[in-house]
Symmetry: C2
Subunit: 236 residues, 2 copies
């Protein structure tokens, strides 16, 4: 049987990295697509590259920073807007929505899939995203799947294996597949360490905590707390 070919939108985060390992486990030939759209947390792309190197895959990196003037209403694409902190389902997190980001990325992935005569485009949206990100909702994904099948004489299927999974479900599957989560990057702030306070850090922590497994991520806020705790100990 010929292996399926799939273009994967790989951000370097926890979800799409798990999707990469998941696809390889089901014998799919993966073409990872990395997109630099001027995201504040472009550190994630370095993570994506490291993961590709580890798996001996050559990713396609597209520099899309020229579209910045079209999408500058988000904290992720505009330095002047502060990244909100708190639980990732809070209303304030809508500031992190990049206008129509997923359609832009999917459309490029579909272009490449058509060029490669690939079978699928894979996209790692999950159930936890639905509250805040309109372009992660099942109805959006279904519509884009229809569009993917109409946009060219070669039809491409859009596959989102985690559409109804929680982040914990993803981590559970990833641990089975030995995904090196310490190599992945989630934090929206894109500083030296994961901040531990932004929506995506809170969600990441929660995913490991709910499974009662060790989270290999080093969070800046936990180091500070430990630092403070030690200081208290020493002072007494």
């Amino acid at each position: 049987m010929k292996a399926e070919k799939a273009v994967l939108l790989l951000s370097g985060g926890l979800d799409s990295t798990t999707a990469l390992y998941h696809l390889r486990a089901i014998q799919t030939e993966v073409f990872p697509l990395l997109i630099h759209y001027g995201q504040r947390h472009s550190k994630e792309l370095a993570a994506a590259r490291r993961i590709c190197t580890r798996l001996n895959l050559k990713p396609m990196l597209v520099d899309l920073r020229a579209i910045q003037p079209l999408i500058s209403t988000s904290s992720q694409t505009n330095e002047a807007i502060e990244v909100p902190e708190g639980h990732y389902t809070e209303e304030s997190m809508k500031l992190t929505v990049v206008p129509n980001r997923n359609m832009v990325m999917l459309s490029l992935a579909i272009s490449w899939a058509v060029s490669l005569k690939a079978d699928r485009v894979v996209y790692a949206a999950h159930a936890g995203d639905h509250t805040i990100y309109p372009d992660c909702r099942p109805e959006f994904i279904q519509t884009m799947n229809q569009a993917a099948q109409l946009c060219d004489w070669h039809s491409v299927e859009l596959f989102s294996p985690f559409e109804n999974w929680t982040k914990s479900d993803i981590v559970r599957r990833g641990l089975e597949l030995r995904v090196p989560y310490e190599e992945t990057w989630s934090c929206y702030k894109g500083l030296a360490l994961h901040c531990g306070k932004c929506g995506t850090c809170v969600e990441r922590k929660e995913a490991f905590a709910l499974l009662n497994v060790v989270d290999p991520t080093v969070y800046a806020d936990e180091i500070e707390e430990e630092g403070t705790a030690n200081h208290h100990v020493m002072a007494t």
Copy 2:
């Protein structure tokens, strides 16, 4: 009444230029979006700019040439593939299809529309395109319209006023609106003059001929024929 705001995908060709004049005639505030995707006939963008200048509009030009590796299977994005000549509905014209081009351009137009809180994205696909270009078919446009309404909390409508018009219908409307067709650019070859032989030149000629009106375009093949004819006259 507040004027509608619309982002228009403006190529500098006959169809989208007519759409621009049409939108202004119906009191729409237009935000023209010009995209350089590495097209062989990037001359069209200079035409688009001239038309914007004439109307005192400031277009947004996005340099998307970085996506070239994803879309290099077309004669329009790959210098090594020759532009086919003949009638624009012939099978050979499928070589000119740029993989998923319209979804990419629409997605960027929708991003900008969301950022601007605009009402619509306008796209000048017409009935003559359906045979060759899958991403001009009504079913594709309808699906993208649904996606445009789901992709963000601010809903955008996709409007394609010429979806069921022939190219002659467009020119008829354009002549009423005094569209300066001599300023527009269609030819896929992108040389000094319109070649007169590629699919889009053939279609352009036909649109004026069917209306029995003067086509202001200077076509290279007609100059050559006139040259030959004159030569014959002189030789006798």
